[in-house]
Amino acid sequence: MKPFTNFESRLVPLPINNIDTDQIIPARFLKTTSKLGLDRQLFNDWRYDAEGNPNPDFILNQPRAQGAQVLLAGDNFGCGSSREHAPWALTQFGFRAVISTSFADIFKQNSLKNSLLPIAVPADVHEELFAAVAAHPAATVKVDLARQTLTTPSGREVVFPIDSFSKHCLLKGVDELGYILNQEPAIAAYEAAHPAPIRTL
């Protein structure tokens, strides 16, 4: 994983609550055995019509979405299926952060493992951001992970929560598997003390 760096970006507003991972990437695209090439299928059924042509009303097809790195979504983003294809598709499109008031548990964990930062903000900040981007589509936010701050278009600095371990992993580009593999002695000791409950056939 590459270390997560600070950035400034325009926002892509998607003011819908409970956006589930089936919308982020529909299940029929999960037959792939690769992680790659999923950006085209991001929000596929909202983004394309029945013939596969881009739907001009959908924000991802508008010029303002090109190059934007922050998705601004409604409450409880990423609910439903555990598919990690959701953060893979979001990051391959170019997103580095998603702002919502809350995130579904599995989506949040999957995102953190893919350098996609879930930024949970209070309802008033959430409203301010939607209002700001409605008034000025080119409005930008700044994300500083080390300081855990989101700077809104009005210059207001908002501190967002992230656990210290995930923050460390993102900033240093550390992947969790490497960390777990280093706990080998503890795992071996646990296994020795806990015989498998499953009767092997």
């Binding site: 919308q23 409604g74 609910c79 599995i106 999957n110 777990i180 706990q183 795992i187």
Partner: protein, 466 residues
């Protein structure tokens, strides 16, 4: 200090705790399927890692698998490749694979319990959000992403933070025509799809205790639709009776020792939960969803909600968007709405008791000729049991399509799907836009409601047919 079963399960699986880091948790059972595992096996290959505990890992094919005649080749080349990749990966890494031609193949959350792999006191993971199903046995079972599938394959461990404990207390007696599915749909309608985020549910109360194991699986299965990563029921005699004699369950003196251990699991008297909610089983009616997430549910006799009555603008727009997608109008009833397809299956409701329930209503009757009715057993074992009881004949005589086991039209990856605009009454777990096929519209309900609607061709209150 008194502890909940959730805390007991957590405490007994912590391998290592470094200050400032999440706990390293041992996983007793890892279930693998074709869709969320290929990239995890690639990761192991790239790093030169082995699967640490093949004895605690078992794979099956369920999501992409056709539910048509298994002796025929798979029509979809991408699905065929994914299914072949699972077999290759399992063989390369030394894992047992109950693949497409195994007589034990089935939906991963159906075969774990029926093989006796899922047991009380375990931690269970799978790259699938409905892993909570296994919580019915008093296990801490939760869905994980593909990166975490790789972590468990390589180390049999996961980095986790404890969840909040959330008691869902269901007391009373279910009325005739009201089932386990209605309990869980009522809970999700009450707390919303994000209501349990950050929590593990423990289902308690007299109504839960009186449910059979398969009904408890139905309830736990949909915990994720209420936002909780896991949901469980403390083990009791029903749990032990279900497990006794199953292939992977302990036997002889090991069985006695296991029972003694399992009896320590239930929540201690006086243990406190972070949150609690109560549901009155006596007051429950058959439930149905009308919208595009499982929280958009209501008693089947209710009128559809009016978006104008919702104060918050984004919430109002979300309901209006859902009704528009569903082609429904606020304030109108859902009863009597035409149905094109009825789907009886999925990890929520494809077990033998579900099929018996549906067959009981369909026996000697004919489904409405305008409705396509698919009955998809959860596993080869469920299929065998159904055949032994003569259920396929009942379904076929009623005009239903009896198919091979798999996830089928719950996730519509395998060609079993709705056409755009079609309405289904489904016993599955998700009514998201396009979930059962692009443009398809799903009403989630119990097997009884599904069978009743199949007979009439419209959304039907099963109590009028009992």
């Amino acid at each position: 200090m008194p502890r909940t079963i959730i805390e007991k399960l957590w405490d007994s699986h912590v391998v290592h705790q470094q200050p400032g880091a999440p706990s390293l948790l041992f996983i007793d059972l890892h279930l693998v399927h074709e869709v969320t595992s290929p990239q995890a096996f690639d990761e192991l290959r790239e790093r030169g890692l082995k699967v640490r505990r093949p004895d605690l890992t078992i794979a099956t094919a369920d999501h992409s698998i056709p539910t048509t005649d298994r002796s025929l080749p798979i029509v979809d080349p991408i699905a065929a490749k994914q299914l072949a990749q699972l077999e290759t990966n399992c063989s390369e890494f030394g894992l047992r694979c109950l693949g497409i031609h195994s007589d034990r193949q089935g939906i991963v959350h159906v075969i774990g319990p029926e093989l006796g792999l899922t047991q009380p006191g375990m931690t269970v993971t799978c790259g699938d959000s409905h892993t909570a199903t296994h919580g019915a046995f008093g296990a801490l079972a939760f869905g994980i992403g593909t990166s975490e599938v790789g972590h468990v394959l390589a180390t049999q461990c996961l980095l986790q933070r404890p969840s909040k404990t959330f008691q869902v207390k269901v007391d009373g007696t279910l009325k005739n025509g009201v089932t386990a599915k209605d309990i869980i749909l009522a809970l999700i309608a009450k707390i919303g799809v994000g209501g349990g985020t950050g929590s593990v549910f423990e289902y308690t109360g007299s109504a839960i205790r009186s449910l059979g194991m398969e009904e408890r699986m139905t309830v736990c299965n949909m915990s994720i639709e209420g936002g909780a990563r896991a949901g469980l029921v403390a083990p009791d005699d029903a749990t032990y009776q279900y497990l006794a004699g199953r292939p992977h369950a302990p036997q002889g003196s090991a069985w006695d020792a296991a029972i003694a251990r399992w009896k320590q699991l239930p929540t201690d008297e006086g243990a406190a939960y972070d949150r609690s909610v109560s549901i009155d089983a006596d007051a429950l009616e058959p439930m149905i969803t009308y919208g595009t997430n499982p929280g958009m549910g209501m008693p089947i006799t209710s009128a559809l909600p009016e978006p104008a009555a919702v104060a918050d603008p984004i919430a109002r727009d979300s309901i209006a968007k859902a009704l528009k997608y569903m082609g429904l109008e606020g304030g109108k009833p859902l009863l009597g709405h035409p149905v094109d397809v009825v789907f009886i299956g999925s990890c929520t409701n494809s077990r033998i008791s579900d099929l018996r329930t549906a067959a009981g209503l369909l026996k000697g009757r004919k489904v409405n000729p305008k409705v396509r009715v698919m009955v998809v057993p959860g596993s080869q074992e469920v299929k065998r049991l159904a055949i032994a009881e003569g259920l396929p004949e009942i379904f076929r005589a009623a005009g239903c399509d009896w198919r091979e086991p798999g996830c089928s039209m719950c996730i519509a990856m395998n060609g079993d799907q709705l056409a755009p605009g079609q309405y289904s009454v489904s016993t599955s777990n998700r009514n998201f836009e396009g979930r059962q096929g692009k443009g398809g519209r799903t009403f989630l309900a119990s097997p009884l409601t599904a069978a009743a609607s199949a007979l009439t061709g419209v959304v039907t209150d099963v109590r009028t047919l009992l």
